[in-house]
Structures are given as C-alpha cells and as structure tokens.
Amino acid sequence: MAKKYGMIHDNNLCIGCQACNVACRSENQIPESVYRLQVWVKQEEYPNGGLGYEYHRQSCVQCENTPCVSVCPTHASYKNEDGIVLIDNDLCVGCLYCVAACPYQARYVHPVTKAPDKCTFCHESRLARGEEPACVTVCPTDALIFGDLNDPKSKINKALSERVTYRQKESLGTQPKMFIVPNHKGGIRS
C-alpha cells in the first residue's frame, strides 16, 4: 500500500529552540536568507491570567487537498504517491500562483532557482535513505513525530490515538497532514 506521511508537532514538548530550523538548513542547503521551517514563539496571556508560550511550526503542512497543486498551471507542483507535496523545477514557470494560493505561507521563492521551494519532509534525501526528516531527527525534546498514517502500527498513529490534536485552518478543507497537539495549559488557538 502507498504510504501517507504525516507529522505531529506537540506544543507541550516543543521548546522553540530552532534545532529543527537549523538542521533543515543543513540538510537541505537552504540559502541563508530564507527558511523552509521556523518555529515561531509567541507569548500568550491565557484566560486565567497565566502566561504561556505558544509554538507554531511555520512550514508546509502537506495538505491532502492541496491548493498549491490545484492552481499550478503546469503540474510543476504535485503530490507524490506518498502524499508529499513536491515541486518539479523543470516544469515551473515562476507564476507564483502556488505561493499566493497557499493558505499556510509555506512556500518561498528560492533565491537561486527562482522557483518556489518548501518543506518536502526531506523526501529527496533522508526518506529515500530510510531516515526521518532532519527536523525530527534532531528535535531535542521529541516534539516532532513522523510516520506513515496508512500504517496502523506506526508511531504517529499511536500518538494520534493518545493525544488531542488539531490541524491549522481546518475549515478550509485542506486536510493538512501536520497535526498539532495544543498546549495543555492554554488550549487550541488555531
């Protein structure tokens, strides 16, 4: 059966340390001025008056129902058999329709190729070698869980059955494969 890769970002475990951010840069040779992945840290004041930090993983959420692929006129943006959204630079004309259409702002224009670029779950390098994405590999507090959603025994499915999760902008019907465990001190703020 085909794989369906997904990821969990657990807000309770995330410490916003940017290890993922830098590991991604190292593995994927991201030019210095741009990012495939950042973790935004925001201070929140909860309804009970307490303070908290909310962690937002800013990166591609790997939609099932992909606005970027839908709008791409040349099929340069596509979803592969494992459910990962990718870009074929050879087909890309640089209309940036996908960049604009992505409700998650996951895409940026690569300063060298001038084509849009984004998180690929390290598909081209690490997954091919049987390794987890770079961000997952280094995450100091195991805040990221990666795996095959089609495999009932996978780590990610186990975690999904045990933890409360939500997905960003679910109302858009994009069905992201990035699941977020809300901060139990604060609650869901999608």
Partner: protein, 763 residues
C-alpha cells in the same frame, strides 16, 4: 572502512554562504585564503564525536554528504541524549567553512585592539612566543604568566605546557560558570553529584533554564518528568521557557535566591519534614546547621525574596512529601549572589535533609572507576582507569598562586588547581592582591574568551592591555584575540581527534572525546600538537612524550585495545551496571552482577555512603567562619535603579558562536525585556531603542516590552554586543551584559556577580 571524500562539490553551499557574507580580507582568515589552496576532505560515514558549539559537550555524530556539506546529529548510541542536537549543534558545519574563521597564525602589527595584523608561519609564531615567555621568565618569573584553557582537553595540553614552563597559575573558565556548585558538592559529598530529573516527582528550579541553555540530556529529562506528571516549580525573575513549561512560575527577586532556600530549609527542619533517620545515619553537622538557620523564618525571608511565606512553606511540605523522588535543582549560573557557595550548599542540603540522595529521582554520586571499583571484589574485573604518559617533575614554584589555592588559608581552598579563580586575573594584573607578592605579566589563553565571559569587560580589557604578552589560541579572532599579540588558529571540533575521557554517573563511563570528520582546513592545528610543538621550541619536549594523538590515546588505554576500538566506533563505553547506593532494587541488581559486593550491603539492603555528608563544613569554618549557613543582605542596586539580569538563548552562547552565520541570522540582537508598567513609566514602547546604563557602562539596545519579567527587573540574553571587529556579523550588536556587571569576585567561590543595578532610558 571509512570512505574519504574529497571534492569541492560538497562545499557548494558554503561557498554560496561565503559569497553572501561579504568576503573577509583579514589576514589569516579562511576568506583571505587562495581558493586553490583550500583542501576539503571528509568522511562520508557517521563518525561519533562530541559537540563544541557550547560547553555542554553533547554526544554527536557527523558525516560529509556528497554534493551537500555536512549533517550533524546526536549520537544515537547515547540513550540519555536520544541522538539529538540543538540549533547550535546543527550549526557546527557553518562554523567549519566560515570565511571569517582563522586558518593561519596572525601577529599584531598595530596597538592592542587596533585590528592590524600580519600573517606569520607557525615557526615564526612559536619562536616569538618562546622568546617572549623566556623574557618574562627572566624578568618577573614564569609564574607571572597565567594560562587559561577553557575545557578538559585544552587543559591537558596547555596546563602541562604551563607547568613545564614554570607557571602554576592555571585556570579554566569555571569561575564564570559552574564553579560554585562544584565546590559545594565537593564540600558536602566529597565528590561530584548528578541529578536524576527524569524520575523526580517534584522539582524546584531556580532559573535553571535547560530549555534555552540547552543541555540535551537535562532538557529531555525535565520534559520526561513533566510528561510523567512531575510538579516543576520555576523560581525565575523572568518568564523563561523553563518557567513556561513548569507547573508553577514564581518571579523571585533577582539575587535573592538564598533567603528563599534558607526559609525553605527552615520549614523542612522546623516542621519536622526532614528525614531524621537519614540525617542521623549519614550526615554530620545537623545541629550546627539547624542553629545557624533558626532566624531565617519564611515570614522574614519572604520580605527578601518576594515569595510569600505560605508559598515557601507549601513547597517545602510538597517537596518533603515527594521525597525521595524530590529534587531541588542546584542549577547552573542562576541569578548569582555574592554568597554563591552558601546558595549552592543550601540547595544541596535541602535534598540531603529529605534523604533524596542515591535514590531514583534525587541526587546521586558520580561513580567514576575509582569509586565503583571500591565496591567490587578481588576477583571481579575492574573498571578501567585511563593512564597518562609519564613525564618529568615540573619545576617547583616558590610563591603562591594569585588565588592562593594550595595555601593553607586560601579562601578558595575548595577549588581545584586546574580550575582556579580566573576572575581574579584582571585584579592580579592591575593591583597587588593580599598575600600575592607579584603581579601578572602574561596571559596565555586557549579557547577562552574572557573579554566576553568575565564580568566587567572594561577591567578585563585593561588587564589585557597591561600584559607583556597575550597569546590567544582560538578558531576566530575572538573578542579576547582582538587584544592579543599573537593569535594561533585552533581546529574546529570537526577537524581534530582528542584524548579519551573517563567519567562516571551511576556507573563508570568513557568517551572518545572528539574525532575528526574532516581534515583540518588551512593551517589550523589541534591543541595536542600546538602545545607539544611550542614546548619543543622551548626545549621542554620531554613533557610531551607522545608522537601524536593516536599515540597518546594508545598510552591512555594501555593494553585495553577493546576499549579503544569501542570508543572509536561508537563514541562511548560504560562499565558494569548502574548503582544507586540507597535504592534496594539497584543494589540487588549490582550484587547479582558482582556477588562479592554482598559484603558491602547493610541490613536494609542498601549500601552505606562512603563518607559522611557534611551539613556543616569545618574547613570553611576554619578559613572563613562560614561552616554553617548565613544570609548577608547585599545591595545590588540603588533605589532608583532596576535589577539587570541575563541568561542564555537557545541559539547562541556567551563567548563563542555569536558570529556563526546560521545562528546569527536567527537572532542578532538581544532585545532587553522590560515590564509594561516599567516601560510606561519610562516612556518606552516595544521596539524602541534604549540605553541601559550604570556606572560601569552604557549599552545600546532595543526594548522588548513583556509581562514575562518582573517590574523591578530588566533581562537580556548574554553573548551579544561583541567587541572584536573581526566578528563582523556580531560586532556591536545588542547589549553586552558583562560590560554592565561589577568586577566583584564572590568570597570562597570566586564567581562573578550577574545581578547589577541599571537605569534605562529611551535612546
């Protein structure tokens, strides 16, 4: 077999990075080197090693990836760290190919701090240093040259060089960082102790921000404890990531941790919450302790530390109830006080009082080979002890060290000679210290950056300028190297092999130190080689009886080639089974493995402590009348000033990697945290440019208005406002916190004070 890869291809990224980061024309830097002379060779297999992007020394492995560069990850064989690295660790690759790093020796041609350099050969550099050292030796004596080496491996080489030369003024960086708790545990436990965060049910944390000043194993253990429902209490003047993750956050008054701990202890004793049996059986000095803290009632201390008395009492009760799975974290660096040693001792004693020692979820004694082997029978195989090459005796020095360690009456008697009180160096250069019949005239600094890491920058720079000789060995023209006469290019940690290490946690363990992943770039040389070659130049070659690092390692393991092979292949090895003396299950497992140890087991099925735990220190009493605990209020600031405190961010360290391009891009300026009410009072808005100033310095910064800091306090990350202009990305950006701190050296511990009064105004 390890496959070596040699190609320009794998450097495509770094050369783009180099192009972006404005080519450096400084002599001796990688950026100034001819393209054709650059050789890059690396191994494509994961090589286990140790990270050096900060001092936490996490286990890593790294490999060169064809056409790409390098990928660094945690060593998966290390279960404690889970194969993880932080952002700093991942950025190690960027340091390797930084055009601003130094790859050739350079010599000063202008004034100190003027930034005028010329490239010299290694031989010229050695000749110069040897000549200068000899001149100082003739004129003032070899002991007037201080040798600072940041960490273990560099100490091995350069402290050896120092003593062969004739100086006993040896230092590490410890007095700017962990020294006080090392001294405290030596005094109380006669050896090192570790903390079993993961199994604890109740943890009290005084600004020990392991989620930003990341030690991977601590961060994982704390997270583990939280995930398993442990209650973590964070007492921190600012809302750190630790405070955010903790169950409770109490913004304690900066510099007033000790009154809190004393009141906490007062409750433990006066409410009869302490473990009487444990105290009676294993401790000494309880009555003296009890008497000394009698006056520190929670009600009285609450006024000092700003934590309500009932909250202190509640915590003490909860803590005692959770014992032995209770852990009062003795922390790292916190908001330091002049009573640093008292503070760390008091914290550790709280854990002792509830008997949370040598049990899961508490403290445990570090069990090196020497410790562990004591419990093994004659016939049992012993944990290996690493050997050192035999060397001639060092020349004897007749005068005391500047910190007088080794003298009977030294207030710093607890400190090891290899650590020393590095914070005293500026004083010992600029003024006469009592009982020290000389001033310092030279400073040899291996991989330490006192200009950034020591309090009161101005004094440090003044001392550097007063020296006859300043030698700095570093990978870049650090802020200290900026004032040096000669700067020798060190290898980065990815380019060198190092000596094997031995340590102990619950059982003895061994590490490979560092292993080379790529061949050294340019002309940089590792420490074992530089010290040896310089010694040879000075006619002291006999003190370095090894060919190279491989030879040195062979001498370390002796005939234990298996250990050598294992360390090289996996990066680590351990001996025996984990042992917790007070944990029956652990003791039973230990005896099962080593039946001859049965004789050491007491009637309760546990093993007695090798020494009495000291709740009162006769030695401290003799030297400084501080055998018991006391609280002496200290005036940190004037009434119209704010407390200024600092801390580590997750993407930078204090002295070393602020100029790393990848890290610098994440955070290049440390905005100063200021409470909304204080900001309003001062007419400051979020993002405003501000001056933070006191009598020591004026620092320019940006305001970050947040409720995450006390109203009477401002906070900034440290490691900003770099002074060396050769660190082009980091130079002059952000508030340099050490410039604002006083030059105070805390009694008995030698620590700097990291709380000071400042005023803030809109710039």
């Amino acid at each position: 077999m390890t496959q070596m890869l040699s190609r320009r291809g794998f450097l495509k990224l770094s050369s783009t990075a180099a192009a972006v980061a404005s080519l450096s024309s400084i002599p001796g830097t990688l950026g100034a080197m001819e393209e054709s002379k650059k050789h890059y060779k690396g191994t494509t297999k994961f090589t286990p090693s140790i990270c050096e992007m900060c001092t936490s020394s996490c286990t890593i492995e790294a490999r060169v990836e064809e056409g790409k560069g390098m990928f660094i990850r945690g060593n998966p064989a290390d279960k404690g760290r889970g194969g993880k690295v932080c952002a700093r660790g991942s950025a190690g690759f960027n340091q390797l190919y930084d055009p601003q790093r130094l790859v050739k020796p350079i010599m000063r041609v202008g004034e100190r701090g003027e930034g005028k350099w010329k490239e010299v050969s290694w031989d010229e550099a050695y000749t110069f240093i040897a000549k200068k050292l000899d001149e100082i030796k003739q004129k003032h004596g070899a002991h007037t040259v201080a040798f600072t080496a940041r960490s273990g491996w560099n100490k091995t080489w350069f402290h050896n060089l120092a003593q062969a030369y004739g100086s006993h003024n040896l230092f590490g960086h410890e007095a700017t960082c962990p020294l006080a708790y090392d001294l405290a545990m030596d005094d109380i436990f006669e050896g090192g102790v570790s903390r079993d965060f993961a199994k604890a049910k109740y943890i009290i944390n005084l600004s020990h921000n392991v989620f930003e000043g990341i030690v991977i194993s601590y961060a994982r253990q704390y997270m583990d404890a939280l995930a398993h429902g442990a209650k973590v209490i964070s007492l921190d003047p600012r809302f750190s990531t630790m405070a955010a993750k903790a169950t409770e956050w109490h913004p304690i008054k900066p510099g007033h941790d000790l009154p809190f701990v004393l009141a906490f202890m007062h409750t433990l004793i006066n409410d009869n919450l302490y473990n009487k049996k444990f105290v009676e059986k294993y401790c000494e000095g309880f009555e003296e302790l009890k008497a000394s803290i009698a006056e520190y009632t929670p009600e009285k201390m609450a006024l000092e530390c700003d934590i309500p008395a009932e909250v202190i009492k509640r915590m003490a009760h909860e803590f005692a109830k959770a014992a032995p799975k209770a852990l009062f974290d003795f922390c790292h660096r916190v908001t330091l006080t002049p009573q640093e040693l008292e503070l760390r001792r008091a914290i550790m004693m709280c854990n002792v009082l509830v008997g949370a020692i040598e049990q899961e979820g508490g403290y445990y004694l570090n069990k090196s080979a020497g410790f562990y082997n004591k419990y093994l029978g004659e016939s049992d195989a012993k944990a290996p002890v690493l050997k050192k090459p035999k060397i001639p005796a060092y020349p004897k020095v007749e005068v005391p060290r500047i910190d007088r360690i080794g003298e009977k009456d030294s207030e710093f008697f607890l400190a090891k000679k290899g650590n020393g009180i590095v914070t005293l160096i500026p004083k010992a250069t600029l003024e006469d210290l009592p009982g020290v019949p000389y001033r310092l005239h030279g400073w040899f600094i291996a991989r330490n950056n006192p200009v950034m890491t020591q309090a009161n920058t101005e004094t440090v720079i003044k001392a550097l300028k007063a020296m006859d000789l300043v030698v700095v060995y570093d990978i870049q023209v650090s802020d200290t190297a900026w004032f040096a006469d000669i700067v020798l290019p060190d290898t980065t940690y990815l380019e060198r092999d190092e000596e094997f290490t031995a340590s102990g946690s619950k059982n003895p363990s061994y590490g490979v130190g560092r292993q080379k992943v790529v061949e050294p770039i340019g002309e940089c040389r590792p420490g074992w080689r530089v010290a040896k070659e310089l010694a040879e130049k000075m006619g002291l070659g006999a003190y370095f009886p090894y060919q190279d690092i491989e030879d040195y390692r062979l001498q370390q393991v002796g005939d234990n080639i298996d250990l050598l092979a294992k360390l090289k292949a996996t990066g680590m090895a351990s001996f025996g089974v984990p042992l917790l003396l007070q944990d029956k299950k652990s003791v039973a497992a230990f005896v099962k493995k080593y039946p001859s140890a049965a004789s050491k087991v007491n009637e309760e099925g546990t093993i007695d402590f090798p020494h009495k735990i000291k709740l009162f220190s006769p030695k401290l009493e003799a030297v400084s009348k501080k055998g018991a605990l006391s609280y002496e209020p200290y005036k940190y600031k004037e009434a119209d000033e704010l407390y200024f405190i600092n801390g580590k961010s997750a993407v930078r360290t204090n002295g070393h990697n602020g100029n790393n391009a990848w890290l610098n891009n994440l955070l290049d300026d440390a905005a100063v945290w200021i409470h909304p009410k204080t900001a309003e009072r001062l007419g400051i808005k979020n993002g405003d440019k501000i001056d933070v100033y006191n009598k020591y310095s004026t620092q320019k910064g940006k305001a970050l208005v947040t409720k995450g800091v006390r109203e009477d306090t401002v906070f900034a990350y440290f490691g900003f406002g770099h002074i060396s202009k050769e660190l082009k990305r980091a130079y002059g950006k952000g508030v340099n916190s050490n410039s604002l701190y006083s030059p105070l050296v805390s009694p008995n511990s030698g620590m700097n004070l990291h709380v000071v009064g400042v005023k803030v105004k809109k710039a």
